[in-house]
């Protein structure tokens, strides 16, 4: 599909492929990418032909090395920046997709890169992947959900270790910490992601979507209510 500058979008056999496409700058996230992701995710959400989504990065070196800092310090005001954050809530849109989303991670997965992958449902990484949340070293905190999504995925103790130290970890340690689901050889990364998406796309889609919803909404509820939700959703 056309018109995008920072991403590419492709649909093949019920699978949507979203590729972060600024390989010359390690796919760093900028305002343009935000707007394009916002738009494409909106289309994917409504597209009943899409059964599963794969999010990946173009080029050899990175899935996404974080935010484009050249755009920082240029916002008109904190209140204006806050307003745009919620007018174009790209992370909320990621989380609201009814289809399962698989993140295929290689090379640098830093800052917003990790955060974007945490908005996905399953994370596969190649052996060369490196992870880190360097925000505190810049005098800021993560703003694409990491303070919320990371502890919910890997637990409080491990999350604070990554967030408060800003240290880098490799794919093996990320696997051990449960930050990612599996590690594969680099040349197997995209094929593995695709075969996983194929598998999911082969199931009954009502069941797939119901499971995703019951799990993600259920985590926000007391157990009793979660159990009620599970019953109502499956019927």
């Amino acid at each position: 599909m056309s018109g995008y500058e920072t991403i590419t979008y492709e649909k093949k056999n019920k699978i949507a492929f979203i590729t972060l496409n600024r390989p010359q700058v390690l796919n760093i996230y900028n305002v343009r990418m935000r707007d394009e992701l916002y738009e494409v995710l909106g289309a994917v959400k409504e597209d009943s032909e899409v059964y599963a989504v794969i999010l990946k990065g173009a080029g050899e070196k990175a899935f996404c090395a974080g935010a484009d800092l050249s755009e920082f310090l240029s916002a008109p005001s904190p209140t204006g920046a806050r307003r745009s954050r919620w007018l174009r809530d790209v992370w909320g849109r990621f989380l609201s997709l009814p289809q399962p989303v698989i993140a295929a991670l290689h090379g640098y997965v830093l800052g917003s890169g990790i955060e974007m992958s945490m908005c996905c449902d399953i994370r596969i990484a190649s052996e060369d992947a490196q992870f880190g949340l360097p925000e505190v070293a810049l005098g800021i905190i993560p703003a694409a959900g990491a303070t919320q999504t990371v502890p919910r995925t890997i637990g409080l103790g491990r999350a604070l270790d990554l967030l408060l130290t800003g240290r880098r970890i490799n794919a093996q340690e990320a696997l051990q910490m449960k930050l990612i689901n599996r590690v594969v050889l680099k040349e197997r990364l995209f094929p593995e992601a695709e075969s996983l998406a194929d598998k999911i796309a082969g199931w009954d889609q009502c069941a797939v979507r119901a499971i995703k919803q019951a799990v993600s909404r259920g985590l926000d509820l007391p157990l009793e209510e979660g159990l009620k939700l599970e019953k109502e959703i499956i019927i």
Binding site: L69, S70, F72, L73, A75, P78, T79, A81, R82, R85, W86, W91, G92, L95, E135, V136, A137, L138, G139, I140, I141, P142, A143, G145, A146, T147, Q148, T149, P151, R152, G155, L156, G157, R158, A159, L160, D161, L163, L164, T165, G166, L219, D220
Partner: protein
């Protein structure tokens, strides 16, 4: 002043609290709890302190419950959980009962190979009452938390690492140097960002995800007003080390 809790400043912005309780296992009592409460209050008021390390005195354990395992009316974890800067526990030897509950209130737990962990309350017909029934399942999951509390069993540093109770296990000699290095590192970062990061994580876990994301966003944009943020980003662009002022 010779109390049961010593405070030193091994680096600028870093406070090291050393617990010197009774006996080899470093038992807690009401005196220690009082000193800890006072110190933690002082630290929260003193914007010069940007990171805290808590450890046990040399050749003693980290900290254990009351001598004899008696029920206690005081709290060690409460004041520490209320600290708004990052807190590292450096644990060697025994961390049991209330001592383990104290460690659970810290943000990062480092252990030496000699560390041992247990919640033996059940053996005396008691329940953990300084936070473990709430903090432990949130940290290691329900199954492992139940096992530790319902059996009263002691686990090793390796086991603790595997279940996520501690972040790292180090040789005995390297424990404190490692903790100090980590603490120095944190104390050199932007203190407001560290505090807000901790606040977003801790408060956010008690909220629905959507609310937590809003909290994170609000704290993020509040940091837009700080000099440290401008310095951090400018330094990155200029490829130099930032000089943070906590403002």
């Amino acid at each position: 002043m010779k109390g049961k809790l010593e405070i030193t400043h091994p680096a600028e912005g870093l406070a090291l609290l050393t617990i010197n309780g009774t006996g080899k296992n470093n038992h807690a009592d009401v005196g220690l709890a009082g000193e800890l409460r006072q110190l933690c209050e002082d630290i929260n008021f003193d914007s010069g302190i940007r990171a805290v390390i808590i450890t046990g005195a040399a050749r003693k354990g980290f900290c254990s419950g009351t001598a004899g395992g008696k029920k206690s009316a005081f709290s060690l974890s409460g004041p520490v959980a209320a600290l708004n800067c990052p807190v590292i526990a450096a644990i060697s030897g025994e961390a049991s009962g209330m001592g383990l509950e104290l460690a659970l209130a810290c943000d990062i737990r480092l252990a030496s190979v000699r560390a041992r962990f247990s919640l033996p309350h059940i053996e005396k017909g008691l329940v953990p009452s300084d936070g473990a029934t709430q903090r432990l399942p949130r940290l290691v999951g329900r199954a492992k938390a139940m096992e530790l509390m319902l059996t009263g069993e002691t686990i090793t540093a390796r086991d603790a690492l595997q279940i996520g109770l501690v972040n790292r296990v180090l040789p005995q000699k390297e424990l404190l140097p490692y903790a100090l290095e980590m603490g120095r590192n944190m104390a050199g970062k932007a203190s407001l960002a560290l505090k807000y990061c901790k606040e977003a994580v801790m408060e956010g876990l008690d909220m629905a995800l959507g609310q937590g994301l809003h909290l994170e966003g609000d704290l993020y944009f509040l940091l837009h007003t700080t000099a440290d943020r401008t310095e951090g980003i400018t330094a990155f662009k200029e490829k130099r080390k930032p000089r943070f002022k906590g403002k």
